[in-house]
Protein backbone atom coordinates (compact mmCIF):
# COMPACT_ATOMS: atom_id res chain seq x y z
CA UNK A 1 0.00 0.00 0.00
CA UNK A 2 1.31 3.47 -0.77
CA UNK A 3 2.29 5.46 2.26
CA UNK A 4 -0.66 7.56 3.47
CA UNK A 5 -0.21 11.23 2.75
CA UNK A 6 -0.85 13.91 5.33
CA UNK A 7 -2.54 15.93 2.60
CA UNK A 8 -4.98 13.20 1.57
CA UNK A 9 -5.14 10.80 4.51
CA UNK A 10 -6.91 7.51 3.88
CA UNK A 11 -10.50 7.77 5.02
CA UNK A 12 -10.44 6.34 8.54
CA UNK A 13 -12.58 3.39 9.51
CA UNK A 14 -14.46 5.81 11.71
CA UNK A 15 -17.97 5.61 13.04
CA UNK A 16 -20.38 6.25 10.21
CA UNK A 17 -21.81 9.30 11.96
CA UNK A 18 -18.48 11.12 11.78
CA UNK A 19 -18.25 10.53 8.05
CA UNK A 20 -21.82 11.73 7.52
CA UNK A 21 -21.16 14.88 9.56
CA UNK A 22 -18.03 15.66 7.56
CA UNK A 23 -19.64 15.07 4.17
CA UNK A 24 -22.66 17.17 5.16
CA UNK A 25 -20.34 19.97 6.32
CA UNK A 26 -18.58 19.90 2.95
CA UNK A 27 -21.97 19.85 1.21
CA UNK A 28 -23.30 22.87 3.13
CA UNK A 29 -20.05 24.79 2.79
CA UNK A 30 -19.54 24.89 6.57
CA UNK A 31 -16.22 23.07 6.15
CA UNK A 32 -13.84 24.92 3.82
CA UNK A 33 -12.32 22.81 1.06
CA UNK A 34 -10.52 22.99 -2.25
CA UNK A 35 -12.84 20.56 -4.02
CA UNK A 36 -14.72 18.38 -1.53
CA UNK A 37 -17.56 20.92 -1.39
CA UNK A 38 -17.97 20.50 -5.16
CA UNK A 39 -17.95 16.70 -4.89
CA UNK A 40 -20.19 16.48 -1.80
CA UNK A 41 -22.93 18.50 -3.50
CA UNK A 42 -23.35 15.65 -5.98
CA UNK A 43 -24.50 13.13 -3.36
CA UNK A 44 -27.93 12.79 -1.73
CA UNK A 45 -28.32 12.27 2.03
CA UNK A 46 -29.01 8.57 1.41
CA UNK A 47 -25.90 8.21 -0.74
CA UNK A 48 -23.79 9.91 1.94
CA UNK A 49 -25.19 7.43 4.47
CA UNK A 50 -24.21 4.59 2.15
CA UNK A 51 -20.68 5.98 1.74
CA UNK A 52 -20.33 6.25 5.52
CA UNK A 53 -21.58 2.71 6.07
CA UNK A 54 -19.13 1.34 3.49
CA UNK A 55 -16.10 3.03 5.06
CA UNK A 56 -17.23 2.11 8.58
CA UNK A 57 -17.27 -1.54 7.54
CA UNK A 58 -13.66 -1.49 6.26
CA UNK A 59 -11.01 -3.11 8.41
CA UNK A 60 -7.72 -1.30 7.96
Amino acid sequence: MARPSPAWPPWPASPAAATVAKMQAYKSGALPATLMHQIAKGYSDEQIQAIAAYFAAQKN
Binding site: M1, A2, S5, T34, L35, Q38, I39, K41, G42, Y43
Partner: protein, 426 residues
Protein backbone atom coordinates in the same frame (compact mmCIF):
# COMPACT_ATOMS: atom_id res chain seq x y z
CA UNK B 1 -11.24 -12.95 5.99
CA UNK B 2 -9.30 -9.95 7.14
CA UNK B 3 -6.93 -8.46 4.65
CA UNK B 4 -3.92 -9.10 6.90
CA UNK B 5 -4.71 -12.80 7.13
CA UNK B 6 -5.15 -12.89 3.39
CA UNK B 7 -1.77 -11.29 2.83
CA UNK B 8 -0.09 -13.69 5.21
CA UNK B 9 -1.74 -16.69 3.65
CA UNK B 10 -1.00 -15.52 0.15
CA UNK B 11 2.60 -14.71 0.90
CA UNK B 12 3.01 -18.15 2.40
CA UNK B 13 2.59 -19.36 -1.15
CA UNK B 14 -0.77 -21.05 -0.86
CA UNK B 15 -3.04 -18.78 -2.83
CA UNK B 16 -5.14 -21.65 -4.07
CA UNK B 17 -5.36 -23.14 -0.61
CA UNK B 18 -6.65 -19.86 0.72
CA UNK B 19 -9.36 -19.88 -1.89
CA UNK B 20 -10.61 -23.17 -0.55
CA UNK B 21 -11.61 -21.43 2.66
CA UNK B 22 -14.56 -19.91 0.87
CA UNK B 23 -17.47 -22.21 0.44
CA UNK B 24 -18.93 -22.13 -3.01
CA UNK B 25 -15.99 -20.24 -4.42
CA UNK B 26 -13.47 -21.07 -7.08
CA UNK B 27 -11.66 -24.30 -6.39
CA UNK B 28 -8.11 -25.21 -7.35
CA UNK B 29 -9.55 -27.00 -10.34
CA UNK B 30 -11.04 -23.73 -11.57
CA UNK B 31 -14.73 -24.59 -11.25
CA UNK B 32 -15.67 -21.03 -10.25
CA UNK B 33 -16.59 -18.30 -12.69
CA UNK B 34 -13.75 -16.89 -14.76
CA UNK B 35 -13.16 -13.24 -15.55
CA UNK B 36 -10.41 -12.14 -17.93
CA UNK B 37 -9.34 -8.49 -17.98
CA UNK B 38 -7.60 -7.06 -21.06
CA UNK B 39 -5.35 -4.15 -20.12
CA UNK B 40 -3.85 -3.17 -16.76
CA UNK B 41 -4.38 0.58 -16.76
CA UNK B 42 -6.58 2.54 -14.37
CA UNK B 43 -9.73 0.78 -15.61
CA UNK B 44 -8.53 -2.80 -15.98
CA UNK B 45 -6.32 -3.04 -12.89
CA UNK B 46 -9.09 -1.59 -10.71
CA UNK B 47 -11.70 -3.93 -12.15
CA UNK B 48 -9.43 -6.96 -11.64
CA UNK B 49 -8.77 -6.12 -8.00
CA UNK B 50 -12.38 -5.28 -7.14
CA UNK B 51 -13.88 -8.34 -8.84
CA UNK B 52 -11.65 -10.38 -6.55
CA UNK B 53 -12.45 -8.35 -3.42
CA UNK B 54 -16.19 -8.04 -3.97
CA UNK B 55 -16.58 -11.73 -4.82
CA UNK B 56 -14.87 -12.61 -1.52
CA UNK B 57 -12.08 -13.94 -3.71
CA UNK B 58 -14.46 -16.46 -5.26
CA UNK B 59 -14.19 -15.36 -8.90
CA UNK B 60 -11.05 -16.32 -10.80
CA UNK B 61 -9.47 -13.22 -12.39
CA UNK B 62 -6.69 -13.14 -15.00
CA UNK B 63 -5.29 -9.78 -16.07
CA UNK B 64 -3.46 -9.64 -19.41
CA UNK B 65 -1.12 -6.67 -19.76
CA UNK B 66 1.83 -6.30 -22.15
CA UNK B 67 3.88 -3.99 -19.92
CA UNK B 68 5.92 -5.29 -17.00
CA UNK B 69 4.78 -2.44 -14.72
CA UNK B 70 2.11 0.23 -14.59
CA UNK B 71 3.30 3.64 -15.79
CA UNK B 72 0.90 6.47 -14.97
CA UNK B 73 -0.17 9.04 -17.55
CA UNK B 74 -1.26 11.41 -14.75
CA UNK B 75 1.96 13.04 -13.42
CA UNK B 76 3.86 11.97 -16.58
CA UNK B 77 3.89 15.56 -17.85
CA UNK B 78 6.06 16.36 -14.82
CA UNK B 79 8.59 13.86 -16.14
CA UNK B 80 8.53 15.70 -19.48
CA UNK B 81 9.07 18.95 -17.58
CA UNK B 82 11.84 17.45 -15.45
CA UNK B 83 10.42 17.73 -11.93
CA UNK B 84 9.57 14.01 -11.60
CA UNK B 85 11.26 10.79 -12.74
CA UNK B 86 9.98 7.65 -14.45
CA UNK B 87 10.41 5.80 -11.14
CA UNK B 88 7.99 8.26 -9.53
CA UNK B 89 5.19 7.27 -11.94
CA UNK B 90 5.87 3.52 -12.10
CA UNK B 91 4.09 0.93 -9.93
CA UNK B 92 4.59 -2.84 -10.14
CA UNK B 93 1.66 -5.22 -10.64
CA UNK B 94 2.77 -7.76 -8.05
CA UNK B 95 0.50 -6.52 -5.26
CA UNK B 96 -2.52 -7.46 -7.38
CA UNK B 97 -1.24 -11.02 -7.25
CA UNK B 98 0.13 -11.15 -3.71
CA UNK B 99 -2.72 -9.34 -1.99
CA UNK B 100 -5.65 -10.16 -4.22
CA UNK B 101 -4.82 -13.35 -6.09
CA UNK B 102 -5.16 -11.77 -9.54
CA UNK B 103 -3.26 -13.85 -12.10
CA UNK B 104 -1.23 -11.28 -14.03
CA UNK B 105 -0.06 -12.48 -17.45
CA UNK B 106 2.46 -10.30 -19.27
CA UNK B 107 1.28 -10.81 -22.82
CA UNK B 108 -0.76 -9.18 -25.56
CA UNK B 109 -4.29 -10.16 -26.59
CA UNK B 110 -4.37 -10.80 -30.33
CA UNK B 111 -7.90 -12.13 -30.70
CA UNK B 112 -11.20 -12.39 -28.88
CA UNK B 113 -13.77 -15.03 -29.85
CA UNK B 114 -17.08 -13.82 -28.36
CA UNK B 115 -18.96 -16.96 -29.40
CA UNK B 116 -16.58 -19.47 -27.83
CA UNK B 117 -15.69 -16.92 -25.13
CA UNK B 118 -11.96 -17.41 -25.56
CA UNK B 119 -9.12 -14.89 -25.62
CA UNK B 120 -5.98 -15.70 -27.62
CA UNK B 121 -2.61 -14.23 -26.60
CA UNK B 122 0.43 -13.36 -28.72
CA UNK B 123 2.23 -16.30 -27.11
CA UNK B 124 -0.45 -18.59 -28.53
CA UNK B 125 -1.97 -19.36 -25.15
CA UNK B 126 -5.75 -19.18 -24.80
CA UNK B 127 -7.88 -18.07 -21.85
CA UNK B 128 -11.56 -19.01 -21.50
CA UNK B 129 -13.89 -16.53 -19.82
CA UNK B 130 -17.40 -16.23 -18.47
CA UNK B 131 -17.15 -12.44 -18.62
CA UNK B 132 -14.47 -10.41 -20.34
CA UNK B 133 -13.47 -6.88 -19.30
CA UNK B 134 -11.77 -4.96 -22.11
CA UNK B 135 -9.84 -1.88 -20.99
CA UNK B 136 -7.19 -1.27 -23.66
CA UNK B 137 -7.09 2.52 -23.48
CA UNK B 138 -6.64 4.40 -26.74
CA UNK B 139 -4.84 3.72 -29.97
CA UNK B 140 -4.19 6.27 -32.69
CA UNK B 141 -6.41 6.74 -35.74
CA UNK B 142 -4.58 5.16 -38.66
CA UNK B 143 -3.51 7.42 -41.52
CA UNK B 144 -4.01 10.73 -39.70
CA UNK B 145 -0.57 12.03 -40.72
CA UNK B 146 0.79 9.97 -43.66
CA UNK B 147 4.33 11.26 -43.13
CA UNK B 148 4.49 9.52 -39.78
CA UNK B 149 4.61 6.18 -41.63
CA UNK B 150 8.01 7.01 -43.18
CA UNK B 151 11.00 5.09 -41.80
CA UNK B 152 12.26 6.66 -38.56
CA UNK B 153 9.46 9.24 -38.31
CA UNK B 154 7.75 7.67 -35.30
CA UNK B 155 11.08 7.46 -33.46
CA UNK B 156 11.83 11.13 -34.11
CA UNK B 157 8.43 12.82 -33.70
CA UNK B 158 6.97 11.52 -30.45
CA UNK B 159 3.44 11.51 -29.04
CA UNK B 160 4.33 10.66 -25.42
CA UNK B 161 0.57 10.23 -24.91
CA UNK B 162 0.96 6.74 -23.50
CA UNK B 163 3.21 7.03 -20.48
CA UNK B 164 6.34 4.93 -20.97
CA UNK B 165 9.52 5.09 -23.03
CA UNK B 166 8.24 8.04 -25.10
CA UNK B 167 7.74 10.11 -21.94
CA UNK B 168 11.43 9.91 -21.16
CA UNK B 169 12.43 10.26 -24.82
CA UNK B 170 10.49 13.53 -25.12
CA UNK B 171 12.21 14.78 -21.96
CA UNK B 172 15.57 13.97 -23.56
CA UNK B 173 14.64 15.83 -26.76
CA UNK B 174 13.89 18.93 -24.67
CA UNK B 175 17.15 18.58 -22.77
CA UNK B 176 19.09 18.31 -26.04
CA UNK B 177 17.32 21.34 -27.57
CA UNK B 178 19.47 24.50 -27.66
CA UNK B 179 18.19 27.61 -25.88
CA UNK B 180 16.27 29.78 -28.31
CA UNK B 181 14.50 26.78 -29.85
CA UNK B 182 10.78 26.21 -30.33
CA UNK B 183 8.77 23.30 -28.91
CA UNK B 184 5.61 22.86 -31.01
CA UNK B 185 2.78 20.56 -29.94
CA UNK B 186 -0.68 19.98 -31.35
CA UNK B 187 -3.99 19.21 -29.64
CA UNK B 188 -6.31 16.83 -31.52
CA UNK B 189 -10.03 17.47 -31.85
CA UNK B 190 -11.94 16.34 -28.74
CA UNK B 191 -12.67 13.70 -27.57
CA UNK B 192 -9.18 12.48 -26.76
CA UNK B 193 -7.47 11.01 -23.69
CA UNK B 194 -7.09 13.53 -20.84
CA UNK B 195 -8.73 16.81 -21.96
CA UNK B 196 -6.46 19.15 -19.92
CA UNK B 197 -3.33 17.06 -20.55
CA UNK B 198 -1.95 18.95 -23.58
CA UNK B 199 -2.29 22.32 -21.86
CA UNK B 200 -0.62 20.96 -18.72
CA UNK B 201 2.22 19.64 -20.88
CA UNK B 202 2.69 23.09 -22.42
CA UNK B 203 2.94 24.52 -18.87
CA UNK B 204 5.50 21.91 -17.83
CA UNK B 205 7.70 22.52 -20.86
CA UNK B 206 7.36 26.29 -20.37
CA UNK B 207 8.30 25.94 -16.71
CA UNK B 208 11.43 24.02 -17.72
CA UNK B 209 12.29 26.63 -20.36
CA UNK B 210 11.75 29.49 -17.86
CA UNK B 211 14.29 27.85 -15.54
CA UNK B 212 16.83 26.44 -17.99
CA UNK B 213 16.27 27.85 -21.50
CA UNK B 214 14.63 31.26 -21.14
CA UNK B 215 14.96 32.26 -24.80
CA UNK B 216 12.94 29.24 -25.92
CA UNK B 217 9.25 29.11 -26.90
CA UNK B 218 6.28 26.76 -26.59
CA UNK B 219 3.76 26.78 -29.41
CA UNK B 220 0.35 25.11 -28.90
CA UNK B 221 -1.48 24.30 -32.14
CA UNK B 222 -5.02 23.32 -31.19
CA UNK B 223 -7.53 21.80 -33.60
CA UNK B 224 -10.31 22.82 -31.20
CA UNK B 225 -12.03 26.21 -31.21
CA UNK B 226 -10.65 26.97 -27.77
CA UNK B 227 -8.92 25.35 -24.79
CA UNK B 228 -11.05 22.26 -24.07
CA UNK B 229 -10.64 22.11 -20.26
CA UNK B 230 -9.99 24.67 -17.49
CA UNK B 231 -9.61 27.30 -20.23
CA UNK B 232 -9.63 30.52 -18.14
CA UNK B 233 -7.26 28.99 -15.56
CA UNK B 234 -4.76 27.81 -18.17
CA UNK B 235 -4.90 31.11 -20.04
CA UNK B 236 -4.27 32.98 -16.80
CA UNK B 237 -1.25 30.77 -16.10
CA UNK B 238 0.11 31.41 -19.59
CA UNK B 239 -0.39 35.18 -19.26
CA UNK B 240 0.91 35.51 -15.69
CA UNK B 241 3.70 32.93 -15.63
CA UNK B 242 4.76 32.23 -19.19
CA UNK B 243 4.25 35.51 -21.04
CA UNK B 244 6.48 35.50 -24.10
CA UNK B 245 7.13 31.77 -23.74
CA UNK B 246 3.76 30.11 -24.52
CA UNK B 247 1.82 31.01 -27.63
CA UNK B 248 -1.64 29.49 -28.16
CA UNK B 249 -3.18 29.13 -31.63
CA UNK B 250 -6.67 27.56 -31.89
CA UNK B 251 -8.30 26.07 -35.03
CA UNK B 252 -5.14 24.39 -36.31
CA UNK B 253 -5.93 20.98 -37.80
CA UNK B 254 -2.83 18.91 -38.43
CA UNK B 255 -3.03 17.00 -41.72
CA UNK B 256 0.56 15.83 -41.92
CA UNK B 257 3.91 15.81 -40.18
CA UNK B 258 7.29 15.90 -41.93
CA UNK B 259 9.56 14.32 -39.36
CA UNK B 260 12.71 14.92 -41.46
CA UNK B 261 12.27 18.71 -41.16
CA UNK B 262 10.27 18.78 -37.88
CA UNK B 263 7.32 20.41 -39.65
CA UNK B 264 3.58 20.40 -38.93
CA UNK B 265 1.29 20.79 -41.96
CA UNK B 266 -2.29 22.06 -41.47
CA UNK B 267 -5.42 22.12 -43.59
CA UNK B 268 -5.64 25.95 -43.80
CA UNK B 269 -2.75 27.45 -41.83
CA UNK B 270 0.89 27.91 -42.81
CA UNK B 271 3.39 25.18 -42.01
CA UNK B 272 5.08 25.33 -38.60
CA UNK B 273 8.68 24.19 -38.25
CA UNK B 274 10.10 23.70 -34.77
CA UNK B 275 13.15 22.42 -32.91
CA UNK B 276 11.10 19.72 -31.17
CA UNK B 277 7.74 18.58 -32.56
CA UNK B 278 5.27 16.68 -30.36
CA UNK B 279 2.47 15.17 -32.44
CA UNK B 280 -0.54 13.88 -30.50
CA UNK B 281 -2.61 12.01 -33.11
CA UNK B 282 -6.41 11.68 -33.08
CA UNK B 283 -7.44 8.69 -31.00
CA UNK B 284 -9.95 5.87 -30.92
CA UNK B 285 -10.64 2.83 -28.75
CA UNK B 286 -7.76 0.39 -28.37
CA UNK B 287 -7.19 -1.72 -31.51
CA UNK B 288 -8.36 -4.97 -29.90
CA UNK B 289 -11.73 -3.34 -29.11
CA UNK B 290 -12.13 -2.07 -32.68
CA UNK B 291 -11.08 -5.43 -34.12
CA UNK B 292 -13.59 -7.27 -31.91
CA UNK B 293 -16.49 -5.14 -33.18
CA UNK B 294 -16.95 -3.24 -29.92
CA UNK B 295 -16.38 0.23 -31.41
CA UNK B 296 -19.98 0.79 -32.45
CA UNK B 297 -19.83 4.61 -32.43
CA UNK B 298 -18.31 5.58 -35.82
CA UNK B 299 -15.93 2.63 -35.61
CA UNK B 300 -14.16 4.72 -33.03
CA UNK B 301 -15.55 4.38 -29.50
CA UNK B 302 -17.35 1.55 -27.70
CA UNK B 303 -20.95 2.10 -26.60
CA UNK B 304 -21.79 0.47 -23.27
CA UNK B 305 -24.70 -0.06 -20.92
CA UNK B 306 -23.73 2.32 -18.13
CA UNK B 307 -25.24 0.06 -15.44
CA UNK B 308 -22.83 -2.77 -16.21
CA UNK B 309 -20.34 -1.44 -18.82
CA UNK B 310 -21.39 -4.38 -20.99
CA UNK B 311 -20.94 -3.67 -24.69
CA UNK B 312 -24.19 -2.86 -26.52
CA UNK B 313 -22.91 -5.01 -29.39
CA UNK B 314 -21.32 -8.10 -27.86
CA UNK B 315 -22.70 -10.05 -24.92
CA UNK B 316 -20.47 -10.94 -21.94
CA UNK B 317 -17.88 -8.33 -22.93
CA UNK B 318 -17.56 -5.19 -20.80
CA UNK B 319 -15.57 -2.14 -21.92
CA UNK B 320 -13.99 0.44 -19.60
CA UNK B 321 -12.00 3.62 -19.54
CA UNK B 322 -10.78 5.67 -22.48
CA UNK B 323 -12.17 3.19 -25.04
CA UNK B 324 -15.84 3.91 -24.33
CA UNK B 325 -18.22 6.31 -26.02
CA UNK B 326 -18.40 8.76 -23.14
CA UNK B 327 -21.56 10.04 -21.51
CA UNK B 328 -22.18 13.83 -21.67
CA UNK B 329 -19.49 15.83 -19.81
CA UNK B 330 -17.61 12.64 -18.89
CA UNK B 331 -13.85 13.06 -19.44
CA UNK B 332 -11.49 10.36 -20.64
CA UNK B 333 -9.37 10.33 -17.50
CA UNK B 334 -7.57 7.90 -15.22
CA UNK B 335 -9.81 8.81 -12.30
CA UNK B 336 -12.91 8.15 -14.41
CA UNK B 337 -11.50 4.80 -15.62
CA UNK B 338 -10.91 3.81 -11.98
CA UNK B 339 -14.57 4.60 -11.25
CA UNK B 340 -15.67 2.64 -14.34
CA UNK B 341 -13.58 -0.25 -13.01
CA UNK B 342 -15.39 -0.39 -9.68
CA UNK B 343 -18.86 0.06 -11.17
CA UNK B 344 -18.15 -2.69 -13.68
CA UNK B 345 -16.60 -4.97 -11.04
CA UNK B 346 -19.70 -4.70 -8.84
CA UNK B 347 -21.95 -5.45 -11.83
CA UNK B 348 -19.85 -8.40 -13.01
CA UNK B 349 -19.84 -9.91 -9.51
CA UNK B 350 -23.62 -9.44 -9.32
CA UNK B 351 -24.21 -10.98 -12.76
CA UNK B 352 -21.98 -13.98 -12.04
CA UNK B 353 -23.51 -14.66 -8.63
CA UNK B 354 -27.17 -14.09 -9.47
CA UNK B 355 -27.53 -10.85 -7.55
CA UNK B 356 -29.19 -7.58 -8.57
CA UNK B 357 -27.08 -5.02 -10.42
CA UNK B 358 -27.01 -1.58 -8.77
CA UNK B 359 -29.73 0.38 -10.63
CA UNK B 360 -28.31 3.83 -9.74
CA UNK B 361 -24.52 4.07 -10.05
CA UNK B 362 -22.92 7.35 -9.02
CA UNK B 363 -19.27 8.31 -9.15
CA UNK B 364 -17.01 11.30 -9.51
CA UNK B 365 -14.00 12.65 -11.33
CA UNK B 366 -11.09 14.83 -10.31
CA UNK B 367 -8.45 16.03 -12.76
CA UNK B 368 -5.54 17.98 -11.33
CA UNK B 369 -3.22 19.88 -13.69
CA UNK B 370 0.18 21.29 -12.74
CA UNK B 371 0.72 24.77 -14.16
CA UNK B 372 4.24 24.86 -12.68
CA UNK B 373 6.32 22.32 -10.77
CA UNK B 374 4.14 22.92 -7.68
CA UNK B 375 1.01 24.97 -8.41
CA UNK B 376 -2.10 23.13 -9.48
CA UNK B 377 -5.65 23.66 -10.78
CA UNK B 378 -8.46 21.11 -10.65
CA UNK B 379 -11.74 20.27 -12.32
CA UNK B 380 -14.17 18.02 -10.44
CA UNK B 381 -17.54 16.50 -11.35
CA UNK B 382 -20.11 14.00 -10.05
CA UNK B 383 -21.85 11.67 -12.49
CA UNK B 384 -25.16 9.89 -11.74
CA UNK B 385 -27.16 7.37 -13.76
CA UNK B 386 -30.28 8.74 -15.40
CA UNK B 387 -32.77 5.90 -15.80
CA UNK B 388 -34.86 7.72 -18.43
CA UNK B 389 -31.96 8.72 -20.64
CA UNK B 390 -30.01 5.52 -19.83
CA UNK B 391 -26.75 7.41 -19.47
CA UNK B 392 -24.60 9.10 -16.86
CA UNK B 393 -25.33 12.80 -16.28
CA UNK B 394 -23.57 15.29 -14.05
CA UNK B 395 -25.50 16.15 -10.90
CA UNK B 396 -26.80 19.73 -11.11
CA UNK B 397 -25.08 22.05 -8.63
CA UNK B 398 -22.07 19.78 -8.17
CA UNK B 399 -18.56 20.00 -9.52
CA UNK B 400 -16.39 22.95 -10.42
CA UNK B 401 -12.84 24.18 -10.82
CA UNK B 402 -10.17 25.78 -8.62
CA UNK B 403 -10.56 29.47 -7.83
CA UNK B 404 -6.90 29.94 -8.79
CA UNK B 405 -3.74 27.89 -9.16
CA UNK B 406 -2.31 27.10 -5.74
CA UNK B 407 0.41 25.09 -4.01
CA UNK B 408 -1.94 23.35 -1.54
CA UNK B 409 -3.60 21.57 -4.44
CA UNK B 410 -0.11 20.75 -5.69
CA UNK B 411 0.29 18.62 -2.54
CA UNK B 412 -3.21 17.22 -2.97
CA UNK B 413 -2.51 16.31 -6.60
CA UNK B 414 0.52 14.21 -5.64
CA UNK B 415 -1.47 12.64 -2.79
CA UNK B 416 -4.30 11.93 -5.22
CA UNK B 417 -1.82 10.11 -7.44
CA UNK B 418 -0.39 7.98 -4.62
CA UNK B 419 -3.87 7.11 -3.38
CA UNK B 420 -5.32 6.18 -6.76
CA UNK B 421 -2.24 4.06 -7.56
CA UNK B 422 -2.81 2.29 -4.24
CA UNK B 423 -6.54 1.90 -4.93
CA UNK B 424 -6.02 0.54 -8.43
CA UNK B 425 -2.89 -1.55 -7.90
CA UNK B 426 -2.24 -2.37 -4.24
Amino acid sequence: MKRRQWIQTASAGSVLGALGLFSGCATPGGAGPKVVVVGGGYGGATAAKYVRMWSDYGIDVTLVEPNAAFVSCPISNLVVGGSKTMADITTPYDNLTRRHGVKVVQDFVTQIDPDKRIVTLASGATLPYDRLIVSPGVDFMPGSAPGMAKPGAAEKVLHAWKAGPQTLALRQQLQAMPDGGVFAMNVPLAPYRCPPGPYERACQVAHYFSQAKPKSKVLILDENEDVTSKGPLFKKAWADRYKGIIEYRPRHKVIDVDAATNTFKFDFNDDVKASVVNYIPPMRAGDIAVKTGLATANQRWCEVNFLTFESVAVKNIHVLGDSIQIAPAMPKSGHMANQHGKTCAAAVVALLTGKEVNPLPIYNNTCYSFVSNQDVIHVASVHRYDADKKTMLTVPGSGGVSAAANALEGQYALAWARNIWADSLA
